[in-house]
Amino acid sequence: MSDVAIVGVGCVGFKSIMPELSYKELMFEAAVKAYEDAGGIDPRKDVDAFVTCAEDYWEGFSIFDEFVPDQLGAVLGHLFTVSGDGLLGLANAYMLIKTGHFDVVVVEAHSKASDILTFYDIVAFALDPIMVRPLGGNPYYIAGMEMHRYLAETGTTLEQCAEVVVKNKRNALANPYAAYGADITVDQVLDSETWFYPLKKLEVSPLSDGCIVMVLASERMAKKLTDKPVWVEGVGWATETPNLETRDWCRAIYTEIAADMAYKDAGITCPQREIDFVELSDLFAYKELQHLEALRLCRYGEAGMLLEDGVTTRDGDLPVNVSGGCLGMGYALEASGMQRLLEAVLQLRGEAEGRQIPDAEVGLAHTWRGIPTATGAVAVLSNIKE
């Protein structure tokens, strides 16, 4: 089976609102950049398959997959849409290439969240219609409930959660693709409005608009298209359970299972030693800590201390969310995982400019599909060919 490399990336955004571009133009602009970056490929003849990632309700369309080929240069081509995060799109593209039948596959995910006028209503529509939805209210209360139990069980503190926001928003200042960079203090986070006790307003990632397109290639084609391939060493994904009542409210089980799958695929036996940096879902500040533990990069309940010790800052031993994460780049719906992946690719190519991690060789990108899901995905990437 061929190894699989990311050979081109294109990003437009991320901004709190991009009213000048339609979602199709957003995709077009990101695609043009990605094709140029992949050695100037022509999507009309050089791409074997396209995978887009979108959810009908985010888009305001029924059967949205019919609306994606033209802006990617994929008309008359082989295309399908994954109703999930961009990292699931990556996993699909990776598998297509692994079959040996496809050499060049394009993955796309975007967010035009600013077009959604009733965001929380759509999230509420994802709750069980019989047991949970009739209770009403803003569905992000589920994050407040989970954070509360997680803190109670692990002893993680409110200050540690607030520190995640401070770190990631500061990291975002050095990322031109980030919408919400800021230099703030722990006290400012703790003094921000309580939304869902103990969850504060500033601990919730604000929405952003943008699009990311990536070009993946088999080893044979990768060598022709780029001199800086980033190898996809392993992918994993998992869903715990859709039932709020029976899921684990402390541990991110879906991430543990997804990580184990990706580590096995990548041949990683000691993630703490083998992974140089991490991009993960910090949709809510406490989720960064919970996910770091689930990725087995520290023990359960110890991520807060790791953060306090400076291990996860940009110049620490295990930098986490140097991009700014979702808190800094903005929550980009199904493009969230692609944000994490983009940063991993740029770091591994040595193109992360002012936020470059020196000597980075192995990076991890992780995503979570947000409230009310228990679904996550993981990709392990490297700039060294095994």
Partner: protein, 157 residues
């Protein structure tokens, strides 16, 4: 990209759309019996797996572990315990609620799962994880076979 500087996004051309979607969600055998017990008898029921012994609440038709059909129903009483809770201060649009709403996951003894519901007759600062609570039902004539036939859970005496 746009050729002119944009100073007011509301002046960008757009089209307002509205998706009206109405559904009739089927309760199913387990859901119907569960809600009917609440409506008729003010009882919270669980369903027990005869293979692994796990009691599901809310009850299901099948065990997610063994894939066994669940046919044994067990009365769990009306008392439970707060497993976790949150105090919601904002509404669907992110605006401040006039009165905060307390949401909790209530567990019932050894049963697997629980109920997501609201807490009432208690001040937010008086709630704690592990607090014993009991269901407050609407009067029989107002009950419709909905999870909201339970008005809320209140601190147990």
């Amino acid at each position: 990209m746009s050729l002119e500087k944009i100073t007011d996004p509301r002046r960008m051309r757009h089209w307002l759309g509205h998706m009206e979607t109405d559904y009739r969600y089927t309760l199913g055998i387990a859901g119907e019996r569960f809600l009917n017990e609440i409506k008729e008898n003010a009882r919270i029921m669980g369903a027990r797996c005869k293979r692994c012994g796990v009691i599901y609440v809310p009850p299901k038709m099948y065990c997610e572990e063994c894939f066994e059909k669940l046919e044994e129903w067990i009365d769990l009483g009306t008392r439970g315990e707060v497993y976790t809770y949150t105090i919601a201060y904002v509404d669907m649009d992110g605006n401040r609620l006039a009165e905060p709403v307390i949401y909790a996951l209530i567990t019932f003894g050894d049963a697997y799962g629980g109920l997501i519901h609201k807490l009432g007759e208690v001040k937010p600062e008086e709630v704690w994880i592990g607090m014993p609570v009991e269901a407050v039902f609407k009067p029989p004539q107002e009950r419709k076979g909905s999870i909201t036939d339970i008005k809320y859970f209140k601190p147990a005496q």
